[in-house]
Symmetry: C2
Subunit: 367 residues, 2 copies
């Protein structure tokens, strides 16, 4: 193999495929990046859960393939001058990397042992803009469960039904739901994608309108961005029927400024070292919301002006669960709907039905 | 105590005195910041090695004092709105912090147990610009020894002699020396300041021409920036006579571009996981320098154009020691003077005698 490419393009490709390279593995080849030159020059990382491949624009002077340690290869290319880079594989897997006056000789690994990325049958295909997918991931990924005892909840449901595409995450205490109109092909499917995969995809996606194509089969899903493709396994099992979880009506409804509420809850949570131990109390009465928290270190009280409909009430929540949701809402004002002080609360932007968040209250001694 | 001050000023003061607050201590009061309102409002942090006090512009409504946990107090103030902050100490050391619609009640600690910062007799006083002191610290601190077996070398020598002020650090393998004309008061003294103190001072100093005053006595040194004062203990013992260590002549002298040399040595050091194990080899011949390094992972060769005087030579160094020094040199070109391939090498900017660096070579099997 002998290729010449720009340092910039090579580094961009390496940075992307590195997201699928294992850092903890007993198989040295999985710590590597596969370099393949056929009619195109392709880099691949694969940790057996996620596989990412990326094409790098190159002048291919001789075809072939080799595996190079990912960290080392990345560190070297990052430090090269902004110029043309030659990668030349000699006998015995010796790899020459040359750029201006720098000359490296590295020991590569034979490519034959590198695990192939599975082929995906192209059954359910849909297109979505990079920006929209990035937003949908950001607004739901944080609510994915960390509890390996219920593996299905460690992923997000991606559902396409009645021309609406939805992302859903549930961790037992809260649910994040983001919907968007799908592109009208009337697909009907639902798959559960591991949270880790969505996290990596979220980092690769750019906030641009360029479309990518998603293919999914029984066990695998592929995100195809043209020059770069990510393949991941799907989680097996039935996801919760989330529609049944959403309460239909409410006892109290308030409208409040998103940033003010976020700042207040963040400040309140500062006087607790252990967020799970203390809950933040919302007292809603007379067009005001009093947010308070008492710990052995001290006490905090915050006052916010609100618009309210319905009954006065007091309700307590885990402050972390509130902060997570408020951080991903871009709209200036939100609506909060309370069923009762022991029932779920719904948070949603006032001027959009694309996002909604459901959170269960904490029962306190005074309830 | 009752004071009102701006969030911005308060936060600036907290951030500075926090550098002297202990994070690992068995005495809770040392994790605190002392707040004192007399005719001025003063914050103090003191970990018994370094003490920092800072005046904060305030409206003092009632004098008094209290100690608040540093991390908690800092986190709360950082998150307050950009507005006026009221700090009011009530009975039983209860501290009220109010800002717009936020109201905190924190448990403070009685100030009587807080260790006082020692008074300094003002024997040797000199003035220096913040920027110059910051530079002098940056260019010498990195060469301070980490070896607690020779405590005196864990600090930098500050010497004033013949109207020249010098900072010197030596760790047994290398020496960094930075000099500047002193302000003509013909002082004669030398003190050794702990590396940790200089590190914290370096962070507090701004790159501005404003002067600060340094006072030093037998055991203590004080850096007085007007609104903010740092007091530190000095290290006891005799420092090495560094002047005798510097070689007078050389066998080979080269001139090379600073950034090019830094990039080359940085790249060469990438193919070693353990920088102490492998040395980088410089081969100087025929107006060229070949930089090479061979490890069990691979080999690298870099070529640089140089101007040279004297004999051709080969010499090996610890790459980390080279990188450290090249990073703090701002000048475009440096001069390197070699005595022999087993003797010290001197690195200095071509157009300045303010900084010089001496490094000992590594003996390799091929020498």
């Amino acid at each position: 193999m002998r290729v010449v490419c720009s340092k910039e393009n090579l580094l961009e490709g390496i940075s992307i495929v590195q997201k699928a390279v294992s850092s903890k593995t007993t198989l040295p080849i999985l710590e590597g990046i596969l370099l393949e030159a056929t009619d195109k020059f392709k880099l691949t990382g694969n940790d057996l859960e996620i596989g990412i491949e990326c094409l790098v624009e190159s002048d291919i002077q001789r075809t072939g393939s080799i595996v190079l340690n990912s960290r080392m290869f990345g560190d070297i290319v990052r430090r090269l001058p902004d110029s043309e880079v030659l990668i030349d594989v000699k006998e015995n897997n010796l790899v020459i990397i040359e750029c201006e006056n720098s000359h490296f000789e590295l020991k590569g690994i034979n490519a034959s042992g590198f695990p192939a990325i599975p082929e995906i049958s192209k059954e359910n295909t849909f297109k979505i803009s990079q920006k929209l997918l990035k937003d949908m991931i950001k607004q739901t990924l944080f609510a994915v469960s960390m509890d390996e005892n219920r593996p299905i909840l460690t992923g997000s449901l991606i559902e396409c039904k009645d021309n609406v595409l939805s992302f859903v995450s549930i961790d037992g205490y809260r649910m994040a739901l983001r919907s968007a109109a799908s592109n009208g092909e009337n697909l009907d499917f639902n798959v559960v994608v591991p949270g880790k995969t969505l996290g990596e995809i979220g980092k690769i996606l750019q906030p641009v309108e360029d479309e990518l194509t998603i293919y999914n089969s029984q066990n695998q899903i592929m995100f195809d961005m043209g020059n770069c493709r990510v393949v991941s396994r799907l989680l097996e099992g039935e996801y919760l029927n989330y529609r049944n979880l959403i309460p239909k009506d409410y006892e109290t409804k308030i409208i409040v400024n998103t940033k003010d509420l976020l700042s207040s809850v963040e400040r309140a949570s500062l006087i607790t070292m252990d967020e799970k131990k203390y809950s933040v109390k919302f007292k809603i009465d007379d067009e005001k919301m009093i947010i308070s928290l008492n710990t052995d270190i001290g006490a905090v009280r915050e006052e916010l002006n609100i618009e309210m409909t319905g009954e006065s009430m007091s309700i307590s929540f885990n402050p972390r669960y509130f902060i997570d949701a408020l951080k991903v809402i871009e709209e200036d004002t939100i609506e909060m709907r309370f069923t009762s002080n022991i029932g779920p609360c719904i948070i949603a932007p006032v001027d959009s039905n694309a996002f909604s968040y459901m959170i269960l209250p904490v029962r306190t001694r005074n309830d």
